[in-house]
């Protein structure tokens, strides 16, 4: 997916003025936040589980090579195939090779952010293979030619009206007078349309929420059941996933599962949590005949051993997005790539480069809500600050900001000079105010006064007044 992260500011401006988007975004705090809170309050062990989850992932990452070996062996022992891909190009090559060998013309897909990362659908289409997104949100945005705006709710930026319009345009074979005025009717229509695709697919591709080393199992978590129909109906099931999804044992995955749905949608468990191990067994009446796992790196290994390693704990719940006031203001597309919100701000520079994605970790007040709700206790604001440090070292920030800051630091490190400067600044502001208690325009502070007033200083600085009081006894 082409990246537009370097246009974040422009994207954000557009988003803020998009009335329909703003209306849709109101659903984010209303729904997700309350539900997560209720689910958390219903489980007394929630906080303790967060600590355990962090420990499980940290241990796994520290031994990732060994757990990968273990996992690989187990998949093969169960009759599955394991493929390694260092980058997206190799992953796509493998998918297309498998699809061609199967003579696949139509492929159903469960929701996969990794697929978005490597632009899999474009590659399939170019190879004459039709990819069909089956997650309802993904299906809708596929119709619109858009990318997901939220890692678990891809179409959260759309209103019901927009979806109705898209369905009418795309499902032209259905009667025009049909009533689609409720979400339920749209869901029903999608069910009918996609049911045919499920049945006709030659290959089913899913991602994986987790990979269990102990048993060679891949796990997907859905509410719709689309990931299941994707994997059990076609001849082959292909899991496209990344190396950071490894978890040691079934017990370890239970802990993470307890946190995932609660943090994402406020459910105790998603509707369908499916553990897949290898192809169908000799006496299984259904299931895929072939099972392939593509283990993709695509930049994760480069994060190991760096201050950004905690980001690999992420289980893609989306809680940080839901609680971020910046995400709530501008939505996901502003971030310009696959991952949004705080986790997008930390992960994207690692995967596409700081020069392209530098704006993202800057668009934060460090309010800390993301870290507060992250089930894996990822120190998101701290890592955004690390990125700012890297930018500073590489002189990537705008010159004006850099010089302004340098001047400030220069003065602040020299108290006597600082007193003088603040005394002068204080007087200048008071003069500029011409006796008014606040100013609607202040030179050099246009970013502020464009939207709000600036208060006039009360009087002389505190330090001058304090000195004055002290010398008067």
């Amino acid at each position: 997916m082409e990246t537009r992260s370097s246009e974040f500011k422009e994207n954000a401006t557009r988003a803020l003025h998009d009335a329909e988007l703003q209306r849709a975004l109101e659903n984010v705090p209303r729904g997700f936040i309350q539900r997560r809170l209720a689910a958390r309050d219903r489980l007394p062990e929630f906080e303790a589980l967060r600590d355990e989850a962090r420990a499980i992932k940290d241990h796994t990452l520290a031994h990732l090579d060994l757990y990968l070996e273990r996992y690989e062996a187990k998949v093969r022992a169960s009759g599955g195939h394991v493929h390694f891909a260092a980058d997206g190009a190799e992953a796509k090559r493998i998918v297309i090779e498998i699809a061609r060998r199967l003579g696949a013309r139509s492929v159903t897909k469960g929701k996969s952010m990794v697929g978005e990362e490597i632009e899999l659908n474009e590659a399939l289409s170019a190879a004459g293979i039709q990819p069909v997104e089956t997650d309802l949100g993904e299906y809708i945005i596929q119709l619109r030619g858009e990318h997901p705006s939220h890692i678990i709710a891809p179409a959260v930026h759309l209103t019901r009206d927009q979806v109705e319009a898209d369905f009418r345009a795309a499902h032209a074979h259905l009667p025009r007078e049909r009533n689609l005025d409720e979400a339920a009717k749209l869901v029903h229509e999608a069910r009918l349309v996609l049911r045919e695709k499920f049945i006709g697919a030659d290959l089913g591709i899913t991602g994986a929420n987790f990979l269990v080393a102990e048993t060679g199992t891949s796990i997907i978590v859905t509410n719709e059941g689309n990931g299941d129909l994707t994997q059990i109906l076609p001849k082959a099931h292909l899991v496209l996933t990344t190396i950071d999804k490894l978890v040691p044992t079934l017990e370890d995955v239970a802990t993470l599962l307890r946190l995932l749905a609660r943090s994402a949608t406020g459910q105790d468990m998603s509707c369908y949590t499916t553990f897949s191990t290898g192809p169908r067994r000799p006496d299984d009446p259904d299931g895929p005949e072939e099972y392939h796992v593509i283990l993709l790196d695509n930049g994760r290994s480069a994060i190991l051993g760096t201050p950004f390693q905690p980001m690999l704990r992420c289980i893609r719940c989306g809680a940080c997005l839901n609680h971020c006031p910046v995400y709530q203001a501008v939505g996901g597309h502003a971030y310009g790539w696959v991952y949004q919100g705080p986790m997008g701000a930390v992960l994207t520079p690692s995967l596409i480069g700081l020069d392209k994605a530098g704006q993202l970790p800057n668009a934060s007040t460090f309010c800390g809500r993301c870290e507060e709700v992250c089930p894996m206790k990822i120190p998101l604001p701290g890592m955004m600050r690390h990125w700012r440090e890297r930018e500073f070292e590489r002189h990537l920030q705008p010159a004006a900001a850099r010089y302004g800051l340098k001047l400030w630091a220069f003065l602040a490190e020299r108290p006597a000079l600082y007193r003088l400067a603040t005394r002068l600044g204080n007087r200048a502001l008071r003069l500029w105010s011409r006796g008014r208690p606040r100013m609607s325009m202040v030179p050099l502070a246009g970013g502020w006064t464009r939207f709000r007033d600036f208060p006039t200083p009360e009087g002389a600085t505190f330090m001058d007044q304090w000195q004055g009081r002290r010398s008067n006894g």
Partner: protein, 256 residues
Amino acid sequence: MLGRKPRVGLFVTCLVDLLRPSIGFAAVRLLEKAGCVVEVPQSQTCCGQPAFNSGDRRDTAALARQTIAAFEEVDYLVAPSGSCAGMIRKHYPTLFPEGSDDRFRAEALAQRSYELVSFLVDVMGVGDLDADYPRVVTYHDSCSGLRELEIRSQPRQLLAKVKGLKVTEMKDAEVCCGFGGTFCVKYPEISNDMVRKKIANVTASGAEVLLAGDLGCLMNMAGKLSREGSRIEVRHVAEVLAGETGGPPIGGGDPG
């Protein structure tokens, strides 16, 4: 215990120093009434947050060393700001390598540093306040104070002791107001969207007065309120607790 009155170094903060010294004087009054001797170390300037949040670790460390040195002799450092106190308590030690002398001194200062209201309640155990303010107020929880220092109940506890004062909670009191230091000028439109939502909540709460513990947040919200023509007054919580509400609110209320 010390066996004598605690010596508190007031960390005034750059915003209070430049724009609203009455907050500093209110803080002094509160601390003295609580039984402290207050000093204002002269070599303090800025806690270093602007540099820190811009990725300039070197200047941040220089400012940290300066602050540490300035406050070496006092028993406590107290700041009328959750973000400055948070910077000193939580982040100063991380600026220096483990085991280094700087780190040791930073940790020593961090342990003795507090936000004002938290200091009054958690350390000095302040009981009664000699203040009355018969107004309906709402309180905004500034992010650093809330999430880095867990300040939430203390201001409300003290406000409950102000005669005639009624606290009405706004919706989403703990959601960021959009100030974020340099954020509000780097991303003014997003910041504006956040402050707009915040003051809608302030207004909907029915309060006549908005209080908080950080002047950055207060300036941001006051500036937006007045730009929108609101009559809601904005003050630092210290002013109300110290009974020093004679002067104009932030942004002055009506001009002339």
